[in-house]
């Protein structure tokens, strides 16, 4: 069995307005593109561990909208939505990105895929309109709590493994 790539995402803050995440997957580019853009696939991985995807609609065409909602155990809804600006399968999509919790922090997300020797590299760039928007991501306001829960859960899993 090949070692997995867990924990290998690279997150960079190249300037005041952008967050760039890169990650490699051992899968062909067409499959990675489908898993990122087809609702039946997105449902399987989008929500954090203690959450459930309740809405997942993706109208994959220029001008089409997507809307993904997951609900935490305590009933908090986390809703993400946007409109596709560019679609160029299987290598690229550009869409607006809005988390309903921070309606003033709209961003443009660019997703790019490239494949080499069976490994597909994913690059996701979130570009915020202004620094105040990006800084939501560096403060993490209300989300802090659910990430703390996730951290505890991960720790409990590690505890079991020992």
């Amino acid at each position: 069995m090949t070692p997995d790539r867990h924990g290998s995402a690279v997150i960079e803050f190249p300037n005041d307005l952008e967050i760039v995440t890169t990650r490699e997957f051992d899968a062909p580019i067409e499959l990675v593109f489908d898993v990122l853009t087809k609702p039946e696939h997105v449902r399987k991985w989008f929500a954090p561990f203690d959450c459930e995807v309740t809405v997942c609609s993706i109208d994959l065409r220029v001008g089409g909208n997507y809307h993904i909602v997951f609900v935490t155990k305590d009933g908090t809804e986390c809703s993400f939505r946007g409109t596709y600006l560019e679609i160029d399968p299987p290598g690229r999509t550009v869409e607006t990105w809005l988390y309903d919790g921070w309606p003033e922090a709209e961003a443009v997300e660019t997703v790019e895929l490239s494949e080499a020797r069976g490994v597909t590299k994913l690059t996701m760039k979130l570009a915020f309109r202004d620094q105040a928007g990006r800084d939501h991501m560096t403060k993490f306001d209300g989300q802090e709590d659910s990430f703390d829960k996730m951290e505890d859960y991960l720790r409990s899993l590690r505890g079991k493994a020992l």
């Binding site: 997150i11 051992d26 899968a27 499959l31 696939h41 620094q131 800084d135 991501m137 993490f140």
Partner: protein, 121 residues
């Protein structure tokens, strides 16, 4: 110090002494960068960064309020130095964010593996 004063100062500290706020400003990050190589007087920072002296002094005040820089007197000059340990909240936040992003992409990875194993069978 009276306990009431103490509580007030702590309460004030919790709203103003935010490391995230302090480094959100690009000029303040430049000043921190300038101090990586060692302690410097205000005049040296002004020269290095082509900012005005009042501007640098204002930013240094914010940075020292949150504890990111300290200073010591040398003759009539004040030498500012970096308190890198105070960057820890940023570090911790980043680690948390990385875990969250990693977690989602790891789930996507596992799912891709499942799909591909399904195809092979």
């Amino acid at each position: 110090m009276l306990i009431s004063e103490y509580i007030r100062s702590v309460a004030r500290a919790s709203t103003t002494s935010d490391v995230f706020n302090a480094v959100a400003e690009a000029h303040r990050r430049e000043i921190l960068d300038a101090l990586i190589s060692g302690e410097k007087a205000v005049g040296t920072i002004v020269n290095d960064l082509s900012m005005s002296q009042p501007q640098v002094s204002k930013h240094l005040r914010v940075l020292s309020e949150v504890g990111l820089v300290g200073y010591r007197a040398e003759g009539r000059r004040r030498l500012y130095y970096l308190e890198a340990a105070r960057l820890r909240p940023l570090h911790e936040w980043l680690a948390k964010y990385e875990r969250a992003v990693n977690d989602r992409l790891d789930r996507m990875d596992d799912y891709l593996q499942e799909l591909q194993q399904g195809e092979r069978q």
